[in-house]
């Protein structure tokens, strides 16, 4: 069981209704965590269209959750 802060941006924030939330999860990795949150919030974007970041740096979907860590799911970007 890990407690993490999850940040939501753009359409993920609109769907979740919050900019961030604290989550307790037993997910083995970030991929599984996204699947849980996608199911809870009804995110339209599949994981393969996102990137994931942990503690302010890009991370791998197979990375484990760090207790107290900060996770961000990065939807396709549209700057410029």
């Amino acid at each position: 069981m890990a407690t993490v802060t999850v940040l939501y941006f753009a359409s993920l924030r609109d769907a979740s209704g919050v900019a961030s939330e604290r989550i307790e999860s037993t997910a083995a990795d970030l991929q599984t965590l996204y699947a849980e949150l996608q199911s809870r919030h009804g995110f339209a974007l599949p994981a393969n269209r996102l990137r994931v970041a942990a503690d302010g740096e890009f991370a791998k979907w197979g990375d484990a959750l760090r207790d107290g860590g900060e996770i961000a799911f990065i939807p396709p970007v549209s700057g410029g």
Partner: protein, 144 residues
Amino acid sequence: MKRFHLSEVPIQIAPLRDQLSHPTAGAFASFEGWVRDHNDGRAVDGLRYEAYLALAEKEGERVLQEAMDKFAIVDARCVHRIGDLAIGDLAVWVGVSAAHRGAAFDACRYIIDEVKSRVPIWKHERYREGDPGWLHPEPDTAKE
């Protein structure tokens, strides 16, 4: 030194350009992204950019450093607006100085291409008709 910046206020071009001048620099290439009045056939009234600030600044800085390493340039800068913008507003500015123009053009193009494809910034468009929405382009449609 920071070469990439996010700005909540209108971008001032002249001081950015002046930072890139150098006696050995004979060429300067720049790119500006302006807010258009249409996108994908829909009339646009205005837009808003949001960023994952901490990561956007790191990733933007990496793009600029890559350009410094890959091309024979003297210096480079990029500033991207966040917040609310109106039609015609400057959304992003890239400037590159170099001894010769080939490297200046190539690096400028590299920087805007990479910033648009990698830096966590999102555009929210308000349309003249219909609901506003976030743009989450497919990789092969992110061409403008």
